[in-house]
């Protein structure tokens, strides 16, 4: 009974995701497409929940639903003028037929591959669980992220910082190093400012909580950092504070600190444990906590500034 219900539910979520995904691509109006895309991200969260990837569900809820949504929606607003011109040059019918054929072929091949997946599926779960004791961390996903595959996580944090450098370097010459994003003007006594005063304290508590439980339960630094970044952006949106000019020293120090601490600990592993990113026996848990603690502010800052975009205004001296 439960299984059948579950199956129906999964099917329903699958259909919902498909419809929203198609909508995000074919909708005539870009705003509608962006809204559909956000709903798409939020329904993916449900799918992750059903696939028992609660950590992934948290990440998707935070990044897919919130930050990517805000990013695209602001871009749509700023590019509104170009929409008419772009929709005027719709691809010709033969082009579209070819595109449909190509996409159909890719889909068909993928379905064949999916049906050909080995059964029972290969799994590293038991290998992870066998060694989790030595990391001192209770959440297997945190263990994988920061112990077994720490190199990936380090590279990821570095990629984020480089993406931010890339975004910043797109600033025009005259506003180099200025404030990113558009200056928001809102009524300081308005309802949005009110919400921006109520929500962030709760949000920061929730973000820290999600970060803290990450050691033993689903959660972790990415999710917590995203929540905090969103809260900061909310305050910026309400016009209560402005984004900092990117040439400020503290911005740059915070943006670089997390990966640097990570690399330093990794290098320290060479003499003490015999390999880059290896943890000496018995010190794994404190070191992992230090890395997470160092990465957290970096991630929050970088994620928020990635949404804010390239500098657009001159820094006030």
């Amino acid at each position: 009974m439960t299984d059948a219900l579950n199956e129906v539910l999964n099917l329903g979520i699958a259909v919902l995701i498909l419809v929203l995904g198609v909508w995000a691509v074919v909708a005539r109006d870009a705003f509608a497409a962006a809204v559909g895309f956000i709903a798409f991200g939020l329904s993916l969260t449900l799918a992750w929940l059903q696939l028992r990837g609660i950590d992934v569900a948290l990440t998707e809820a935070a990044i897919g639903g919130g930050l990517t949504g805000a990013l695209t929606i602001f871009a749509v607003a700023r590019l509104r003028a170009t929409e008419a011109a772009a929709s005027a040059e719709r691809p010709s019918v033969p082009t579209r037929i070819i595109a449909v054929l190509v996409a159909g072929a890719v889909t068909f091949t993928l379905i064949l591959c999916v049906l050909a997946l080995p059964n029972p599926a290969p799994s590293l779960a038991s290998a992870v669980m066998a060694h989790i004791e030595s990391t001192g961390v209770g959440n297997p996903i945190t263990a994988v992220l920061l112990a077994y595959r720490a190199m990936d996580t380090l590279l990821e944090a570095t990629v984020l910082v480089f993406a931010l450098i890339g975004v910043w370097s797109l600033a025009p010459d005259d506003v180099w190093g200025g404030h990113p994003g558009i200056r928001q003007h809102a009524d300081p006594n308005g309802i949005l400012a009110y919400a921006a005063r109520i929500l962030p304290p709760i949000g920061i508590v929730v973000g820290t909580y999600v970060f803290w439980v990450g050691a033993d339960h689903p959660g972790g630094k990415f999710q917590g950092a995203t929540i905090i970044a969103a809260m900061w952006l909310l305050v910026v949106m309400a016009g209560l504070v402005d984004t900092p000019p990117v040439s400020r020293r503290w911005v740059r120090i915070v943006a670089a600190a997390g990966p640097l601490v990570f690399i330093a600990i990794g290098l320290a592993g060479v003499p003490t444990a015999g390999a880059f990113l290896a943890y000496p026996h018995g010190y794994a848990k404190p070191l992992i906590v230090i890395i997470e603690l160092a990465l957290m502010p970096t991630l929050a800052l970088v994620l928020a500034l990635l949404v804010a975009g390239a500098p657009t205004r001159i820094a006030k001296r």
């Binding site: 009974m1 439960t2 219900l5 579950n6 539910l9 329903g12 979520i13 919902l16 419809v19 909708a27 109006d29 705003f31 509608a32 809204v35 559909g36 956000i38 709903a39 939020l42 329904s43 449900l46 929940l49 059903q50 028992r52 609660i54 569900a57 948290l58 809820a61 935070a62 639903g65 919130g66 930050l67 949504g69 805000a70 929606i73 602001f74 749509v76 607003a77 509104r80 003028a81 928001q184 809102a186 308005g190 949005l192 919400a195 709760i202 949000g203 929730v206 909580y209 999600v210 439980v213 339960h217 689903p218 959660g219 999710q223 929540i227 969103a230 809260m231 952006l233 909310l234 949106m237």
Partner: protein
């Protein structure tokens, strides 16, 4: 009990899906802005019910995140949408 909760989750999800179709078709952007609202309530309820049905306690954290970020998304809509607090022009003017 878990069957009941699962069925309830499915039902809520169904109403969310129906509402979403209505909202996305909506004639004006104002209608579309409600999408995040809808997920803020319906989606959170579905997540809570699913979590309770499958016994995943951490689903509440997901619901918490979803609630915060859905609020963030709807504020972003309002700021960015034509006719919202951000730009005064509406779609039809262009």
């Amino acid at each position: 009990m878990s069957e009941f909760l699962l069925a309830a989750a499915g039902f809520v999800l169904l109403t969310v899906a129906v509402g979403l179709v209505r909202i996305l078709r909506g004639p004006a952007n104002v209608d579309r802005m409600m999408a995040a609202q809808l997920f803020g309530t319906g989606g959170v309820a579905a997540v809570l019910l699913l979590g309770a049905a499958t016994g995943a306690a951490a689903a509440i954290d997901v619901a918490l995140t979803l609630a915060l970020l859905a609020a963030f998304a709807s504020f972003a809509f309002v700021k960015a949408a034509p006719g919202g607090d951000g730009a005064p022009a509406t779609d039809r003017d262009r």
